[in-house]
Subunit: 337 residues, 2 copies
């Protein structure tokens, strides 16, 4: 059935079906311009010949790349980033595949390189749109993309001219603090992430704000780089204060692990002496002793939402599309009593 050696082109099908190549294209793409009978015949011939459209030819003729770009500023060697991004990519990929779109992925060292990759992709007509992760304060990417008219969706923040997938960081922080307060905690420490990232700033703000509303003491760490080391360091630093916290929130599970090792070193016990909580779940939260209370969220949902936003985009409407995701639920485990 399948042509050996040479892959059949639209012209071969036209010949076999006794129509013009143009008609084949119309028929195969489900466009009007051919009668239903002709269409069926053409489709039949095409499938019997094992025909598949050449992506390159299609891209060139239609001037659509049928691809979405994603660049990752190379995650520091952290378990967290790997887990998060891998699942994120899975989510993006699954949606794109359904729509016959490709994912173009590149890792870079920093955001400056990222910007040049985005520009290059545009120049090469390699992608039709891009997904931006880790939105920052004064982010250089959105203005660049607006300038070259490359549609984009951001994950975690919203920028003018682009779509956005949003998570309610404030609600997460509130849920976390309420849980702690409910269990009698009065002095909460928060070991946060990199403050160049917008969501870190939102979380910090929410933490202080919400703590005040609940009438508890809030201790904010210095910004960290999400490493185990910095998690331990900040934990130790905050435990040296005279107003010692009675509970810790960590921005992710790696910081949490760092905090755990620090606490073990100080001969303190969890949850007897201290409560622990992670804003990001991971198998490690369930494997350590005691198991760590954490927010459950599936990064692939973020990815698939972003991809969907981009694909549903008829005529660049992305610019105004926003999808708000549900606030992750808190999995309460032994580390908070």
């Amino acid at each position: 059935m399948t042509a050996q050696g040479k892959r059949p082109t639209i012209r071969d099908i036209a010949r076999n079906a006794e129509v013009s190549p143009g008609a084949v294209s119309l028929a195969l793409n489900g466009k009007r311009g051919v009668s239903e009978a002709t269409r069926e015949r053409i489709v039949e011939v095409a499938s019997s010949m094992g025909w598949t459209a050449s992506v390159a030819a299609r891209a060139l003729a239609s001037s659509k790349a049928s691809a979405v770009g994603l660049v990752l500023a190379r995650p520091r060697e952290s378990l967290d980033a790997e887990r998060f991004y891998f699942q994120f990519i899975c989510g993006v990929e699954s949606v794109l595949t359904q729509h016959n779109q490709a994912l173009v992925l590149q890792m870079v060292d920093d955001i400056t390189e990222e910007v040049s990759v985005l520009r290059a992709w545009h120049g090469q007509r390699r992608v039709d749109s891009v997904i931006l992760v880790d939105p920052r304060h004064d982010d250089p990417r959105p203005p660049q993309l607006r300038a070259i008219a490359l549609p984009f969706v951001t994950v975690g923040s919203r920028f003018a001219g682009g779509g956005a997938v949003l998570i309610d960081d404030t609600a997460m922080i509130a849920t976390a603090l309420e849980h702690l307060v409910q269990r009698g905690r009065r002095r909460v420490a928060y070991v946060c992430g990199m403050d160049t990232l917008q969501h870190t700033q939102r979380r910090q703000h929410a933490f202080l704000e919400c703590g005040e509303q609940l009438g508890i003491e809030t201790l904010l760490s210095n910004p960290t780089d999400y490493s185990e080391h910095s998690g331990a360091e900040e934990t130790i630093r905050m435990m040296r204060r005279h107003d010692v916290p009675d509970s810790f929130m960590f921005d992710n599970e790696i910081l949490t692990l760092g905090g755990l090792s620090a606490v073990v070193g100080m001969n303190l016990r969890i949850p007897e002496d201290l409560f622990f909580m992670s804003l990001e779940d991971s198998p490690v939260c369930r494997v350590v002793t005691p198991q760590v209370t954490a927010f459950l969220r599936d990064p692939s949902v973020l990815g698939s939402a972003a991809a969907r936003l981009l694909l549903n985009d008829e005529e660049h409407l992305v610019a105004d599309r926003v999808e708000k995701l549900d606030t992750p639920t808190l999995a309460i485990r032994a580390s908070t009593g």
Copy 2:
């Protein structure tokens, strides 16, 4: 400097440089056919206009996709797979990018789907070659790829007609057993992986063989699915024997975690009562108490080696290329004394 709106094409450059489009192509690709002076002028004009080749046009004209395919039979929800594959992808991607090649990535549910994705990619001329991971016994992929003449490289085993990146499983097992024997262990249990995978079979064989040479008792588990649950289950099962093992080797860190939880449940202590070792390292091995002895290896090295093999391939020589990677080193930690 940069053209606004319309991206410049080769024709625009030809016009500005007062040469033919063909000459521009030759100049820009560093091929002979234009004088050095002309080439320089053309390159100058191109860069001043911010020109970048359209990947689609180039692919169509040269009938090269400039892309490498990788399909992942969707990893079970395991930390291990995520970590491993993410790093693997990073390695592949870094090499491809250097050579201006794209990575086309797709996740599927099983190997049957994988085969049809590979065929589809070929039909669409989406990739020039592919990387195959998780080689199996009676693997259906190599014959299919040979039939459609799509070059491939396998990771972990070698197949006729394809290149291969190999790891010396036998040496790893030998190193592991020698370490245990050296510390006085005489009854080693090995909790292995899925036996549909070739490397599992090789490891099992090496385990029994090498154990005999060292004159120790070897206990092989049933095949597992790499889940924490199965790790615990097999550990318990083997600890119920009358000839109780004095040490355990686990195929990866997730199985190790399962084993750990089982051992805790039996009120046994590591390393006092039992030694533990993982054939795959991961942050979790360093985070649990006691820290677990494990082999250090960087999956990105596997990925970059595979990509390099594919790209260095002039005229389909891949078929005979084999790259043997260094045997990973063993990081000795508290779990083995």
